[in-house]
Symmetry: C4
Subunit: 315 residues, 4 copies
């Protein structure tokens, strides 16, 4: 069984890349992931790290926010049933998931929208008191890719402050609305004391980038293991979602024997908080837990471990 | 295995919620569902209540109502095949489902559009004579969220009157077209003698709200266990629909060991009346019936039991 | 196990229907299908009749006809790959299906577009020579719901003439483009000597209607057992399509023990002619053939049997 | 079990086709594929040829190219997360697939976009050095169906030159962006020394056409065994995609006992390079490899074998 890295050592591709004047920032990572003679491993000895995210957004959405209802209402009227669809997120969804995380014995990262935190502070506080990470997700449901530097800095800071005020914890990570950060977002996060963001789909392992001449961690996200994308946008049934992520896990677990691998999976309050989806998540996580060396970690733990590790991938 | 409620008793979140000046109407229910030290149960000893809805709408639709056919006809022409797709609802769909409910020994709630009732009175009467509940669904297929108070009151009352005239029964519940009630709907229903509505997706159990300073029951609906949403809007196959609701049932049945839980499932005449969907419904209901303590109830029964029960959830 | 018909005999619904002045044309069929004390059966003793349709349309489509390709081309250019997608229908699809029908020992009805017949006459002739029915499907791929009486009569007649000229057979049935007939279509078909049409989705058994004061048979179609609708419009995978129709069959076969039932299933040249879909069709039909009393019939046979049978349903 | 070819010999369809003045170019192939008394076989004795394509496009896409993200951004802003979705294609996708092809012991054809090759030359070179075919796919992500002859010739040539410069290999085949070639494309390819193209969906076996009075091979493609079409456009889950192609294989393998058959399957860098899709591909290919006489071939090998073989189908 030929191995990619062995193969590379025979042919002198690195030099060739130089000759052709390859853009370093893009050629480098390939060298790093594919051409590295000695495989990287997780610093703490984990074989595969699973990073689970629970979004806390419901309650903070604007009127008539997107929902499973066709958007065919006259302007000026409130979509009352859609509003109750969101209420489900904090009345049933998060409470159900919190019980389930305890039952399964895992801790997750919760990206919290500031307005949702202020609407249901008791629930936000409970999430943190039960051992889960509170991470930034903006002050409201709003695009930030088109904000000015000042506007965006206030938007992100207000959200982090709301979390601090209600939960007593300082958030050190960030997820932008729809992943769509601006050109300034990372700089702002670094200035605000954050150590990582997740709005990057380029890899199956965390890596370090340089922001304001300091290290900053990227804990990659995914749209394929994302409940909102699969259930609400792609119209998957829960069993399809479950099967897909099991396949994802099987492959990454196998690869994790020889190199550092991370699986990211996402749970939104009103989508993954339903009985059927909690059933799917339970089966999924129990399946993963049957495998030796699988570690469920909060994103702040992953970021810290990555920043400390001299063998971490750098871009 | 940590339990959510035990956990809460250790930390004093209720007080904290006060300090932060949480919006009572939203904070309350969380307290109720999550922080209640002693779990609620169904008054009649049922473990899990299943609420099945059969929609009687076909025949009452306007010309060229939405159908599986692409809407690409020139204006001024009638979509003849689409009209026969609706006819299927009362010619094959409801008769087939009625036989099936008897075979399975369950009673359902039928939300009846007034114009459909007048178009096929014999069928409407038969539904009621076979023991199923006739409940309101408006006089015609029309949005009511944008109606004036007077207009909407007449619209709802005409529908209820059509049901009374044809079936001899007084409807006490309501489902608005597309769930989209107006700000006045609940007030109107209370005035017209109704005791419950279903246009709320916020919970997996019924609850009591205050309308005109009187109690009014909410028997929650769902869009995820809704045949129209899954089969026609999300393009599920019947087996996906079946699997999804089985997963929903398994989770709720487990939760029902310690608290009051209800599963709602929906059957539209022209969608769930097909052979393949009746096959799916039969397997689903037989699966549920294999479990101890599962009670299939009409929504009027559920509403009455809820209104009588001092331990019912209130918002 | 309560039976719907027995139940009815106890309550006097028929009279009541009269009192309320029910629209006879709609109330009648209900009486017929639901209230008839003695169940109807197929005249030839079949338990369940399966009516399979193979569409012969490819080659006759206009330039840039709808295909799996996104329609994002500048006007004035020909979509060359989409054209080859259609070619597949007559180069691989129909030849493959023809071999399969022989292997399975069934005869089907082929609705043939006139322009497709003239483009590939040898194939059209072969279909008929191998024992399948050639039935009308218009002269070209064109909406006829908006044609004048004269225009539509010529459109239908030209299509029937093309079939006659190429295959030597006289077509006696019809399927309108997208099922969308005009108000004149049935009158025209009766005038042209046709005995049935299929553009009706209202029932799971054939029935007789009155056209120009003569009997005319309706051999109902379906959009749910239609490959184009499921595979191309609903994005089903072939296994979903297979499972769905097996469920449809199981229910109809059970019902067929006590009343006349028909299952209709559709195969389009470029959609069901692929290897994966022929695989699905093979498994489906073999599954059906394992059941006693299942008869695969051409629609002309079904129409003739229906018109001859005094117990046939009339509307 | 009647056989299609035997049947034909009894009836004299060929002559009839003449009488009716059938368009030779379309009637011929039918005769060839269906009426040929002695079945065609692969020259090298393979029973079934599988042609796998790995697209190398990521990195070469324009800003804000289509992605799984809803296209609802204000103009003038860069979709940063979508860009990282593409990066995944060359950072994880292709390296993962390359290891997998080696593990499975197969060689594939890689259609390479010129701009992607120049962006990641080391990876392009590695693909070729590991034994896979580099084939043309245009200089950039651009429609060519609307280009002038000169413009298109330069566009295609620049892409082929980039491949030559980076990999040292001369590409002899072509795949147009979205399969949408212009009326001049084949002529241009012939002039540039290419021997085949794949932008044709009409058959399940390769064939020869005449371009500039010289033979040119068509190695047919498919949209149904295409990951981008199924996963991103039809929203299939990987297990649906896997099941679908297994069904496709089973039918073609059976047909391949008596005639030449080819199965084409497609893998895009950012779509099929995910862990879950590589898992599906591994199971699919291992399933195929269990069958005797299944040969995985590069498209250049298939084209050469076809052009040499006097029994090849001609149009």
């Amino acid at each position: 069984m030929s191995d990619r890295r062995d193969f590379i050592k025979q042919t002198g591709l690195l030099s060739m890349a130089g000759i052709l004047g390859v853009n370093k920032t893009t050629a480098q990572p390939i060298n790093k992931t594919s051409f590295d003679p000695k495989p990287s491993k997780w610093a703490d000895g984990s074989r595969l790290v699973v990073s689970a995210t629970m979004l806390f957004e419901a309650g903070g959405q604007p009127d008539n926010a997107p929902s499973p209802f066709p958007p065919n209402m006259k302007p000026g009227f409130k979509d009352l049933p859609a509003a109750t669809w969101y209420e489900y997120g904090y009345k049933e969804g998060i409470p159900r998931m919190l019980d389930n995380w305890d039952r399964l014995g895992i801790k997750v990262t919760t990206h919290m929208v500031g307005s949702a935190v202020l609407k249901n502070p008791a629930l936000a506080k409970e999430i943190v008191d039960r051992g889960h990470e509170a991470s930034g997700h903006g002050m409201t449901w709003k695009d930030e890719y088109d904000m000015s530097y000042e506007e965006e800095k206030k938007f992100i800071k207000d959200g982090l402050d709301a979390i601090k005020k209600v939960t007593g914890k300082t958030a050190v990570g960030y997820n932008a609305n729809f992943l769509r950060r601006s050109q300034n977002t990372l700089k702002i996060l670094q200035e605000l004391g954050c150590i990582y963001h997740i709005d990057d789909l380029s890899r199956d392992e965390p890596f370090i980038i340089n922001v304001n001449n300091k290290d900053f961690a990227v804990v990659p996200y995914t749209v394929r293991n994302n409940d909102l994308g699969m259930i609400e946008l792609k119209n998957f049934s829960p069993d399809q979602y479950l099967t897909q992520i099991k396949m994802e896990f099987d492959q990454l677990y196998e690869e994790a024997a020889t190199r550092r691998r991370m699986l990211s999976v996402t749970f939104h309050d009103r989508v993954s908080g339903t009985p059927q989806m909690v059933r799917a998540a339970t089966e999924l996580i129990k399946y993963m837990q049957k495998h030796t060396g699988v570690a469920f970690k909060r994103k702040d733990e992953i970021a810290k471990m990555t920043l400390k590790d001299p063998t971490s991938l750098r871009e």
